[in-house]
Symmetry: C2
Subunit: 251 residues, 2 copies
């Protein structure tokens, strides 16, 4: 059925199995929405129903799903279980992915305990930290192990995803070690920009950035007319008078 071309050679940018990144980012949302409908005993849902459950508009949802194939039935809608399976397969969560968490501070602790972590598809195989005081501590049914064991663990359990929950300082080094050990996907919670070689995917979750984005819009709302009115040259007391120790320009 896939009438790939047969049209104008104009925009052939449709990579045969390349799904737009924006769509990929929404597929997990659809998956969750479908799971919710399924749990409610709903067997069939229209794009409108699904879109409402997922918080998007129905045209966008239909277009997104069309990248996966024609899994709906015109005049009827989508079979919830069937579509759920197809999306899960496309995302890759029909198989299990081994995950290590590095940095067992407050956040690492929270993630280790987060049951919803394994929304099926992900299996935490190790909690790692370099702090001797933490090594050996039990969290749930796991035990914190020495970061030095990383390479062995990655090889033994075929770990492909690493989660970094260390402070900013050691994050890049941890990242390098993960990559060297063979991890090819990283989820970073440390507030730094990590650099990785090509072929390694990295995603960032940054609390303070999210808050700052909210603050920007908040300022717009409350201070609609009360903005600081652009102090082009504010009192730079003590700001520009830095020692200029190693500045690229400082004398």
């Amino acid at each position: 059925m896939t009438r790939a071309s047969s049209r104008r050679p104009g925009p052939p940018t449709r990579t045969e199995r390349g799904i737009p990144e924006a769509t990929v980012a929404r597929l997990p949302v659809y998956l969750r929405a479908l799971t919710g409908l399924s749990d409610s005993g709903i067997a069939t849902a229209s794009s409108e129903d699904l879109a409402t459950a997922a918080g998007v508009n129905s045209a966008k949802l239909r277009k997104d799903l069309s990248y996966l194939g024609s899994y709906g039935t015109r005049g009827v809608g989508y079979d919830v279980e069937y579509l759920r399976y197809q999306i899960a397969r496309e995302i890759g969560v029909t198989q299990d992915w081994a995950v290590v968490i590095v940095g067992i501070g407050n956040l690492g602790h929270a993630l280790a305990n987060y049951s919803g972590f394994g929304t099926r598809g992900f299996r935490i195989v190790a909690l790692l930290d370099a702090d001797p005081n933490l090594i050996g501590e039990r969290i749930g049914d796991m035990e914190v192990r020495d970061f030095a064991e990383l390479e062995d663990i990655v090889k033994a359990d075929r770990v492909s995803i690493g989660v970094i929950t260390t402070p900013a300082g050691p994050a890049q080094e941890v990242c390098d070690r993960l990559v060297a050990a063979g991890v090819t996907s990283i989820l970073n919670f440390a507030p730094v920009v990590l650099s990785v070689p090509d072929g390694v995917d990295i995603r960032k979750v940054d609390l303070s950035i999210e808050l700052q984005i909210l603050a920007y819009h908040e300022q717009r709302k409350s201070g609609e007319a009360g903005l600081p009115e652009v102090p082009e040259l504010p009192a730079m007391n003590g700001l520009t008078d830095l020692p200029s120790v190693g500045g690229g320009v400082g004398a």
Copy 2:
């Protein structure tokens, strides 16, 4: 080719002080990069330097900054402290924002302890939960208070930002209460789609979605040629045989 000449010559879409959303999302990154440079004693930086520190390309960075005004000096670069101040002001973190955290489970705990939270600009004024067993518990220098006190706290401290770290179940109700109390910006960690009235901003941080996006790309890498090869009609044993209790189409 481009016969778009019939359009308006000058796209006045430049809302006088309207900064593109994509740019807003990067400003906090620039702010952090500038702070890092500042801490290193760097007084001046070129767009190339900054772009490297922020993990973006320099053209994008320059365009982003141009929305704020002309704060650089041609042939020289940007004064680190001055630019930092301007971005901080634009985002709104030169003032303090009062924040409440609702749901003091593992994640709420972690956030409450997260010192970097107050990367200056944000002040946690209350930790709330509805569980009597948690109320009164001390976390750092704060104490968990009853969610019922929400309205009083919001009014007293002029809280405009709420962070939801409850499980999925109560999240929407908590959200509604926050909005009713006057909170106009929400950061949601619960794995549900929340609906809010116009005028309320909401941002979502979702661990399992991030992991699933990584999984998708990971599958592409490892299984380049070994994909399940589209089982158009997989064994739907027990999947389509649901009771179809409330399906819009059942019967």
